[in-house]
């Protein structure tokens, strides 16, 4: 047999202290659909970015069609026939389909005259080849998401791509659109293209894939022919069994209900009818796949996205929350997911960051009292053992774990009743991770109600007193804390536990 289209050997990649890929080997043959599976954070996206040249691997090698590629850049990957179709197509919305295809495929010479009729003809041909009924004259913003994906695929074909990566292509498609897409994928395979197919929907994997590779914690668990595995085995592979990290034990007995949601929904936020109780002194883990509506639910609770229907009860009283400052006044605290963007203002000193949400209480009348501010900051630096050279250090001088602690400190300073944590240990090294877990546990012991969103399944299982699982904007399961990883994953994937 000839050399595979793509061969990755022992590829490693770290981001700071986080090892995203720990020596992954992967190969793709011509004319196959190779599914790539794994939980959130297993390393799929990083692997894709290595293949498309967006990230440089720290170690390992990449061979394309039998030839070693030393330094892959997005431009050279494109030349080598690698194309990636993202869930959110990266097209120019105000240009037509033909213009978008032309931009990708035509040789760019700044002052060459555009051959409009050739551009239109080529666009029409490519679209026809994949059976898409889209006018080349249509503006991309008028197309639906799947139509835009088809345009992307047409671009990939037109560029002569031999390696096509599809990252959750069906996430926003209807049943009928999916079948159209499957037909296109099968056609690509028949024409000798190698397809790397990423999806969380197991039925698609079995319908399309020839081989399956499962990633977990940045490692490949091997490649199998799709026919050799059943769903249960796949889920088992994805979640693993051992918990690699000791979690602090739950010590508190849950008290009274702090937060109660009754059929809460938000059209704008994509949350559909969530009913949930969170008690004082307990940690409720909110599990689910990316896009299941977990962060959206948190944003509704914090008054960022308006709720359209249902009720929010705090301490038994019905409340309406229409802004973060109202949420804070009600005793809700939200440590957001993207700490670099929204959790900590990196340009500002540690102390300013910590006091940012308690201005009205700490500084009555709007007069800053630097003594009180420094004192409060010192207290949290000590309590959460934040490693910094002082309250005046800029946020950017701290490590990721310590920035996260500042984000937590800011919210603890508001003395909340309910603490919502969104991916509290994402991008944090192992040491800081267990410290953050210890802090969360201690807070629950002190009677705080904690709602913890996490895509890290061991973390959900290790930290939660109860586990709520979301899928497509609704709560699909409410499981006890000592649940099996398999059950949680099955609920998140929308499968009955086997």
């Amino acid at each position: 047999m000839s050399a595979p289209l793509l061969q990755l050997t022992s590829v490693t990649k770290s981001f700071g202290a986080v090892r995203a890929l720990k020596g992954v080997s992967f190969d793709l043959r011509a004319g196959e659909v190779h599914a790539l599976l794994g939980e959130n954070g297993a390393g799929k996206s990083t692997l894709i970015k290595v293949i498309t040249g967006a990230h440089q691997p720290d170690g390992g090698s990449i061979d394309i069609k039998g030839e070693r590629v030393a330094h892959l850049t997005p431009a050279s990957a494109h030349k080598l026939g690698i194309a990636c179709i993202y869930q959110q197509p990266a097209l120019f919305p105000d240009l037509t389909v033909a213009e978008n295809i032309g931009l990708r495929l035509e040789k760019t010479r700044s002052f060459a005259r555009v051959d409009w009729s050739a551009r239109r003809t080529r666009a029409a041909e490519l679209l026809q080849r994949i059976g898409a009924e889209i006018s080349p004259e249509a503006e991309v913003c008028s197309l639906s998401m799947p139509e835009q994906q088809l345009v992307e695929i047409a671009c990939a074909l037109g560029a002569g791509a031999r390696i096509v990566i599809m990252d959750e292509p069906t996430a926003s498609l209807t049943q009928k659109e999916q079948h159209l897409l499957f037909a296109v994928v099968r056609e690509l395979r028949a024409s000798g293209v190698g397809v790397i197919y990423i999806s969380h929907r197991l039925e698609e994997i079995f319908a399309l894939a020839d081989r399956v590779t499962v990633l977990r914690d940045g490692e490949s668990l091997g490649t199998n022919a799709a026919g050799e595995l059943n769903e249960t085995q796949l889920i088992q592979l994805m979640v693993g069994r051992e918990v690699s990290h000791i979690y602090p034990p739950a010590e508190s007995a849950p008290g009274e209900v702090v937060l109660s949601l009754k059929n809460l929904g938000s059209t704008a936020g994509g949350v559909r009818s969530v009913t949930l109780d969170v008690r004082a002194g307990e940690v409720v883990g909110l599990a689910g796949l990316v896009g299941a509506g977990r962060t959206e639910l948190a944003r509704v609770l914090f008054g960022i996205t308006p709720a359209d229907f249902g009720e929010i009860l705090l301490g038994g009283k019905r409340v309406s929350i229409s802004s973060p400052s109202e949420a804070i006044a009600h005793g809700i605290a939200y440590v957001p997911e993207d700490r670099r963007r929204h959790g900590v203002i990196l340009e500002m000193p540690v102390a300013h960051n910590i006091t940012m949400a308690v201005h009205p209480a700490l500084f009555p009348g709007g007069w800053l009292r630097f003594g009180a501010e420094t004192e409060l900051a010192q207290k949290f630096i000590h309590d959460l053992s934040i490693k910094t050279y002082g309250p005046d250090a800029p946020g950017s001088s701290l490590s990721g774990g310590n920035q996260q602690k500042i984000s937590v400190a800011r919210w603890l300073a508001t003395k909340p009743k309910l603490l919502i944590l969104d991916e509290p240990t994402q991008g944090v090294d192992v040491g800081a991770k267990s410290e953050i877990h210890r802090i969360i546990r201690a807070l629950a012991k002190d009677g705080l109600a904690v709602l913890m969103i996490s895509s890290d399944l061991p973390e959900i299982l290790g930290m939660s007193d109860r586990i709520a699982v979301m899928r497509s904007g609704t709560l699909t399961a409410m499981l006890p804390g000592k649940s099996d990883a398999h059950e949680v994953m099955a609920a998140a994937l929308g499968k009955e536990a086997a």
Binding site: F302, I304, S323, P324, S325, A327, I328, Y334, P336, R341, H342, G343, V344, I345, E347, M348, H352, M356, A357, H359, F363, G366, W367, L368, R410
Partner: protein, 309 residues
């Protein structure tokens, strides 16, 4: 020291310029022309303080020149009608506040880009004033110029007032919660919102304050001459924005210091008299000013590029 490096280097450049002048052309420091030159800068300084807040908030207001012109004419007409100076002052500040608040409401309330909003209001106020005044001067009653004091007394009063205001504003930016909100909103409005700060109110406040200061500055200009010309305020926006940029206010918000703006304004304003004193043709003024601005922008650009690494 390192934190205020940018501001200190502007101050150092200013000091260097003054030193050269002291050595080469000591006549530059004779009291009366110097006092007049400084007095002429006081309205710009007051507007620049407000502009700095708006730019730190990650916005811009290019309509201040027009606001200034409108306020000056209102102040002049009221003074000519015989109203006492305090009333004239309040009316001018009030008119400025209304115009500033309108900009703020369009930007913060409706979420429109400030450059376009203030371009529109700039043209609107300017043309409205032109139609209303038809190019006529407003003659001021005696007793208005220099607040009815001697020229020396009036100049001293204006310089003192501007400096006190600058010191007060600089203190407030550091010591009031509102000042910190401006920095937070300018750095990352979404992060500020998630921390319970209201970015809209902060932005609206900054624009309104700029309007009020522009109204105050208009009166400070009116009292310097025997009549109000309808061209008062022309080009003011460029001058104060340049002072902010040279003084180290980051154009994309979140960073800046009012003392730096003060140094920047003086540096730009001293170029013309310095050239005259050094017997260089004054035509070079604009070119050199442009060069200074370019230098400041390049320095800031290099700095942000380095920080991003």
């Amino acid at each position: 020291m390192k934190r205020y490096f940018r501001e200190l280097s502007v101050a150092a450049a200013l000091a260097l310029l003054l030193l050269v002048l002291a050595l080469v052309a000591p006549s530059f420091f004779s009291p009366q022309p110097l006092l007049s030159r400084l007095t002429a800068q006081t309205p710009s300084l007051v507007v620049a303080v407000g502009m700095a807040l708006v730019i730190i908030c990650r916005q811009i207001d290019i309509s201040v020149g027009s606001q200034f012109g409108v306020c000056a004419v209102i102040a002049g007409l009221l003074a000519a009608a015989g109203l006492p100076l305090p009333v004239v002052l309040l009316a001018s500040i009030g008119s400025g506040m209304v115009m500033g608040a309108l900009n703020g409401w369009l930007v913060a309330g409706l979420g429109l880009p400030s450059i376009v909003v203030t371009l529109a209001t700039m043209v609107t106020w300017q043309e409205a004033l032109r139609l209303f005044q038809q190019g006529k001067f407003v003659n001021l009653p005696p007793g208005t110029q220099w607040f009815g004091l001697s020229q020396l007394g009036g100049q001293t009063a204006l310089i003192c007032a501007a400096l006190v205001l600058l010191a007060l504003a600089a203190w407030a930016m550091k010591n009031l919660a509102a000042g910190r909100f401006i920095y937070a909103v300018g750095t990352d409005a979404e992060a500020a919102r998630l921390a319970g700060i209201n970015p809209r109110r902060t932005t609206l406040g900054a624009f309104t304050l700029l309007g009020a200061l522009t109204g105050l500055a208009a009166v400070m200009n009116v009292v310097q001459s025997p009549q109000v010309q309808p061209t008062f305020g022309a080009g003011l926006e460029l001058k104060v924005i340049a002072a902010c940029v040279v003084g180290g206010v980051a154009v994309n918000g979140g960073r800046g210091n009012l003392w730096g703006v003060f140094a920047g304004l003086l540096l730009l304003a001293m170029i013309n008299p310095a050239l005259t004193s050094l017997h260089v043709e004054a035509h070079w003024e604009k070119a050199i000013q442009g060069l200074v601005i370019l230098l400041a922008v390049v320095a800031d650009g290099l700095r942000t590029r380095r920080n991003r690494r």
